[in-house]
Amino acid sequence: MSKLTLKNEGERHIVVTRHFAASPEAVYRAHTDPKLIQKWLLGPEGWTMPVCINEAREGGKIRYEWSHPKKGSFFITGEIVKLEPSRRVVHVERMHLPDPTPDSHIETRFEPDGGGTLMTMRMTLPDAKTRADMLATGMEHGMEESYARLDKMA
C-alpha cells in the first residue's frame, strides 16, 4: 500500500507518489513544521539535519542543512511560493554544493486516499551537472557501505 512510485513526466519533470496512513492534515504538517521535517527528511543513512528552517508562510524562507560524520555538510535554501493548508505546498529550492545549483520547482499535493493520504510530488528535473554531483555523493556512499560490509567479513 505504501509503495513509492517515481516516473519522469515529459522532458523536464519527475513525479513521485506515496500513500500515507495518516490524514492530509498530519502529512501536510509533517512537511511544514521544522521540528517534524528534521526527523524524516534525511536521505541516506548517516545524515542528520542540524539546521531546519521553514517559515511555513507564502514568501517564507526555507533552509535545511545536512551533516554527515565523514562526508561533511551541505545545505539548500528556498522560498515558499504557495501554501494551501492540508492540500498543497509549492516551493522553489536550490542546493549549495557549495555553489548554488539552478532553482528546482516543487509542488507537493496531499489528497484524502482510503482513510489516509496520497501525496503527489512533482519536481523539475535538476540539470545534468547537479545530477552528476548528486550521483557522485550517492556512489561514494554506496562504496562506503560496501567497505563496511567487507570490514564485517574480514
Binding site: L4, L6, N8, G10, E11, S23, V27, W40, A128, G138
Partner: protein, 105 residues
C-alpha cells in the same frame, strides 16, 4: 565519458524511442530491422536514432553499407543509477515519515 542526462531523459520521453531502446536491448539491429515493427519510414526512424545517439544512449557501427545500432551501455546505466539513487533516498525519507506520522496521531 560525458553523459548528457538532460538529453537522455528528453530522448526517452518519446514512446517510439523507448520501443527502439527496448528492441536494442535484445541486440544490435540495422535501420531496416528497426523500421519494420513501427510501420514508419526509414527517414523517420533515422531521425529517432539521431536523437538517441545525441543523448549518448545508442552507438552505431560501420559494416559495409550498413550502420547497425546498439545500446551504449554507459548512457543507460548512468541514468538508471541516478533514478535508483533518488528513489532509494526518497524511500528512506518516507519510511521515516511513516513513523513520524504514527507518533503524531
Amino acid at each position: 565519458m560525458y553523459i548528457d542526462l538532460d538529453a537522455a531523459f528528453s530522448a526517452l520521453a518519446d514512446p517510439t524511442r523507448r520501443a527502439i531502446v527496448a528492441r536494442l536491448a535484445n541486440g544490435e539491429a540495422t535501420v531496416t530491422e528497426l523500421a519494420e515493427p513501427f510501420e514508419m519510414t526509414q527517414p523517420a526512424i533515422s531521425q529517432h536514432l539521431k536523437v538517441l545517439e545525441e543523448a549518448g544512449l545508442i552507438v552505431r557501427r560501420v559494416e559495409g553499407t550498413k550502420r547497425p545500432r546498439r545500446l551504449a551501455k554507459n548512457g543507460i546505466e548512468a541514468m538508471d543509477q541516478w533514478l535508483r539513487m533518488l528513489k532509494k533516498a526518497l524511500e528512506k525519507n518516507y519510511d521515516r515519515l511513516d513513523q513520524v506520522l504514527a507518533a503524531m496521531e
